[in-house]
Point group: C2
Chain length 387, copies 2
């Protein structure tokens, strides 16, 4: 397999894009990545598009081909992949594999979602397409409910408090304030979070990521093709995809997702690295409790300490490990199919030393994208190519 | 890249499966393929699932992981791919690539769709997710309309008559009568077709494939792993995926789909074969006119002669080229995400000499899966491994 690098990234802002369609968002992000990579359209040999619920919410499938057509790309394989909230990470993995296996020298990854045009009820129903609708779906347990249950268990096992969890929210919302693409950065106090609307006890409003529109794109190329790239290429050291149980009851331990644990193990092994080598991570904080679980599952924080490390400032920019310097899903937003690709966008800017909320001297970055009730996961490890 | 063979196939019947869910159909087909291939569950290293509209019609996404969980497969990458009616063919291509590139030694492909539980209006709306909904969708031009327009042009250019088109229907419906998995085999006369309900003039009821439920599955393995297979392994000589215009107005010529022409060219080249070498083809006859266009685009029938060859009996089993000996989409049915995998199931039985409507001495088979208004296409060429 050939070595693969990222030479270009692009993104729309995440948030409400009332007047714009899915295709327009995807095309803006893709054009940004193509310009950034300095590649010509006829050099792209494959398109992978991550999208989750354009079918139910917009009545539009076959988006990979539609976006490629709009971009004026050649008659090349264009594939939409779907793995709920991990759709973007899965799209990236397939582009990397296409180049690594020598099927093409350059591939375009796009993630896109448009959600804010739908009602809250429509969005909740569409998001529940990520549940197993033979079991968890009919029980009425939505995703806030899942992470509310996890929170109670985490609190019982490890003594995690409301204010410790709030430290995650406060950090990510503050990081989001520095990110020009973020939807909901904010300067919050523990008191403001404690007084916010209950959603699925103990989860409150600020513990939840927003509903978002947005798109992000990445260009991957074979290493020997990267010389002409205008910006610093970023090495893809590992890109792993795993599966976990589709059902809440299928997890041995609801405060850990097997798909993340396995993906991280395999990614560290493929990269020849350990958690200590990671300078920053963009991880899947769809809820504050999700960041806590993810950071422990990835081995970046000791088991049970996810919230306490946040409260101690150890997961801020400048701390032991910078978690979600972009603001994460909580503050940057969560246009589902775009999220995993957006994480790569953020990590690449960090490793190039060009991020608005820069982790000083960042050499190694990780991204973590988790779908459904832990059913699908991708973990990637990236490195500055001159580091 | 390593050589890849098919060692196992499985399928449900296509038709109405009122009491059964998507997962149950997919699992039946997959278990059939696993048994047929003689592989253990822990040998499967990747799952690719083709599905088009389980989101809009059943509120269920992440089907790849759900089906893998139900099958008791390991913690492996499980990916749903979507390319409208070509979803199944795209799933097959990705499984082949995974094995060819050495990511795993064996992969499971599943295609599944459940449609008959929805109303006709819901199905039409869901199928229109395969249109570009910024242009063709709002025009009200559904897929019968598209192929009705193509028919008029084909008739004007080549003098194709109603009765010549009916010869395609009569052949496929008769083939379907011999296929135990087929939904709507029938013994029809030109008169019965001429008197059937108008759908989108000149298309009539019998020119259209039915709405179907069903699933099919294929196991692909590296050639050196195929020795233990209980049944004759089938070589995958080529598996090509292309893109065409998403819009009707984007095609230079509505009686030819560029995605098919390009996919066929590349597949013949990869296999080192010409159209004359193909003994049978399972091609994408969602409408009678689609078979006519496809057979010409694939180079199997001279341009303009698709209907005339059918009328002359040259595309029957025993003719110059056996087209859709399974009954095709017209008679076997079209559970959209399953169709491309079902075509492979049929071709494998033919090449093993075990088909209920056997093409005598079949050595080389082709499958052709086309999505949307020609936006996505896959063409595969298979060979008896002892031929």
């Amino acid at each position: 397999m050939r070595e693969v690098v990222i030479t270009g990234v692009g993104s729309t802002s995440f948030g409400k894009h009332d007047e714009r369609g899915l295709e327009s968002l995807a095309v803006e992000a893709a054009n940004g990545a193509l310009r950034n990579a300095g590649v010509e359209r006829n050099e792209i040999g494959a398109v992978y598009l991550g999208n989750f619920i354009a079918g139910p919410l917009s009545g539009q499938e076959v988006l990979a081909g539609i976006v490629a057509d709009e971009l004026g790309l050649e008659n090349i394989p264009c594939t939409k992949v779907e793995g709920a909230c991990a759709s973007g990470g899965i799209a990236f993995r397939h582009a990397v594999l296409s180049v690594a296996a020598g099927l093409c020298d350059a591939a375009l990854v796009v993630g896109v979602e448009k959600m804010t045009h739908a009602s809250g009820g429509q969005v909740t129903q569409a998001l529940n397409c990520a549940m197993d609708n033979r079991s968890d779906g009919p029980s009425g347990l939505t995703f806030p409910g899942l992470f509310g249950l996890a929170w109670r268990i985490h609190a019982a096992k490890y003594g995690t408090t409301r204010d410790e969890v709030s430290a995650v929210v406060i950090k990510n919302k503050a990081n989001g304030l520095k990110n020009p693409l973020a939807q909901l950065g904010a300067d919050l106090s523990p008191e403001m979070i404690r007084q916010s609307q209950p959603i699925a006890d103990p989860i409150q409003l600020y513990d939840c990521c927003p509903v978002s529109d947005g798109a992000a794109a990445v260009i991957v190329v074979a290493r020997d093709r990267a010389k002409a790239a205008p910006d610093l290429p970023i090495d893809v050291l590992a890109c792993v995809q795993t599966r976990g149980s589709p059902r809440i009851g299928g997890h041995q331990d609801i405060v850990s997702f097997d798909a993340t644990v396995k993906a991280a193990e395999r990614a560290y092994q493929a990269a020849g690295l350990t958690p200590k080598d990671i300078d920053l991570v963009e991880l899947h904080d769809c809820f504050s409790m999700a960041e806590i679980i993810d950071s422990e599952d990835l081995g970046l924080v000791p088991r049970g300490m996810g919230a306490k490390w946040a409260a101690q400032g150890r997961t801020r920019v400048g701390g032991d490990i910078a978690i979600n310097p972009s603001g994460g899903l909580l503050a940057k937003g969560h246009p589902v199919g775009a999220t995993g690709v957006g994480q790569l966008y953020e990590a690449v800017l960090q490793l190039r030393g060009m991020h608005a909320n820069q982790v000083k001297g960042a050499r190694i970055g990780m991204t973590h994208n988790l779908g459904g009730a832990g059913i699908a996961c991708t973990v990637s490890i990236l490195k500055r190519s001159d580091a």
